[in-house]
Subunit: 208 residues, 2 copies
C-alpha cells in the first residue's frame, strides 16, 4: 500500500497515531510512504488531484489501486483489519458515544482551528477565498471549544469516557495544531484539559 503523507500536518498525524495505538508501524502494515508537501501547494497540484480530487492528506492507495482519503476513513479501515485494542468502541453504545465525541471535537474544536488557519495564513491564499474577519471569528470560536472540552474533561478521564479512543487522538492533534493560530492550553483557564493533555501526550503514540 502507498500512503500519501506529510509529517508536519495534523490529519496525517491522526492516522500515524491511530496505527501506533494498535502497536503497528507503517512498515508492519506494508505501507510505503510518499511525501506530498502541503506547504508547497502539492496537495492541490494536478498530479495529486488525480489521487484525491478533494485535495487532502492523508490518502491510502490499496494494492488494487483503490484510494481511501479522509483520516477517519483510513482509521476505520485499520480498525476493521486490526480490531485490538478497539479505538472506536466495542458495542453499539460505546461506538455511538465515541463517534459523537469525535465529531464534536472535529466539527467544533478542530474545524474552528483549521478554518482560522486557512482564512488567515498566506499559505492558503491560492486555494481558499480568504476572509480575514472570519479567520478572527473562527479563532474566537476555538477559544470557546477549549472551554467546552475542559468542562467535559472535568467529568471523565478521556474525551469519550473512561477509556482512550480515537476521540482523544482527534483532540490531541487539534490542540497541537492550534499553535498555528497561537492558541495553547492555559493551566489556569483549562486545568482539566491540561491534566488530560499531559496524560495523552505521554503516550508513545503521541510522538511517532
Amino acid at each position: 500500500m502507498k500512503l500519501y503523507d506529510f509529517k508536519m500536518a495534523p490529519n496525517p498525524r491522526r492516522v500515524r497515531m491511530f496505527l501506533a495505538e494498535k502497536g503497528l508501524s507503517y512498515a508492519d502494515v506494508g505501507i510505503e510512504v510518499i511525501n506530498v508537501d502541503i506547504a508547497k501547494g502539492e496537495t492541490f497540484g494536478r498530479e495529486f488531484l488525480k489521487i484525491n480530487p478533494y485535495g487532502g492528506l492523508p490518502a491510502l492507495e490499496l494494492e488494487d489501486g483503490e484510494i481511501i482519503s479522509e483520516s477517519m476513513a483510513i482509521s476505520r479501515y485499520f480498525e476493521e483489519l486490526y480490531p485490538n485494542p478497539p479505538l472506536m468502541g466495542k458495542d453499539p453504545k460505546s461506538k455511538a458515544l465515541i463517534e459523537m465525541w469525535n465529531r464534536r471535537i472535529e466539527l467544533g474544536l478542530y474545524n474552528s482551528i483549521a478554518l482560522s488557519f486557512q482564512h488567515g495564513n498566506p499559505m492558503w491564499k491560492a486555494v481558499v477565498n480568504q476572509v480575514s474577519e472570519f479567520s478572527e471569528v473562527s479563532a474566537e470560536n476555538s477559544d470557546k471549544e477549549f472551554y467546552k472540552l475542559d468542562k467535559r474533561l472535568a467529568q471523565t478521564e478521556y474525551v469519550a469516557g473512561d477509556e482512550f479512543s480515537v476521540a482523544d487522538i482527534t483532540a490531541l492533534c487539534a490542540i497541537d495544531f492550534a499553535k498555528v493560530i497561537k492558541r495553547r492550553i492555559d493551566e489556569e483557564k483549562h486545568p482539566h484539559l491540561a491534566r488530560w493533555y499531559k496524560l495523552v501526550s505521554a503516550r508513545p503514540s503521541a510522538s511517532v
Copy 2:
C-alpha cells in the same frame, strides 16, 4: 427512548431517512419524539443545553439516560442494532469508502451550505458571530461542490459506488437543504447529479 427532533431541519432528516431505509419507523424502535424548535432558538436555550451542551439536533436519549447527539453517531447506533440492510458498508474496504464519501459530502457540500446559511440568515444572529462576506464565499464553495459531486456521479450509480449508502442520505439532505441559500441542481450544469437526485428522491425514505 426519546428523540429530540425538528422535522424541518436537515440533520434530523438524516436519522429519520436512515431508519426508514432499515424499514423502521420511530414507533418500531420505541422512540418518543420531542420537538425542539431550532427557528425559535430552543436548541441554544438553557433547558436543551443540559441535554446537548453542543446545542444541536437530533439527540437521542437512551433508556439509561445516556444522550447520543450527532446524526451520524445516532445512525451508527442504529446500524449496529439493525445491521440489515447495511448502510455503512459490510467489509473493511466498503466501510472505509462509504465513510470517505460521507465525509467528503459533509465537509465539502454540507458544510459550505450550512456555513453560508449560518453566516447569512438572521435566524442565526444570536448564536453565530456572523461574517456576511464569508456567507457569500461559502455559497460559492457550495457551487464548486455541486460540480464535484456531479463529476463523481458521472462514474457511479450512487455516491459511494454501486449501492445506496448513508453517503446518499447525507448528500440528499444537503442538497434539499441548499434551498435556504438559493442553490438548486441545474439539469444542464449537473446532468449526473440530476439523474441521481431523481433516483434517490423517489425512494420512500426520502419523504418520511
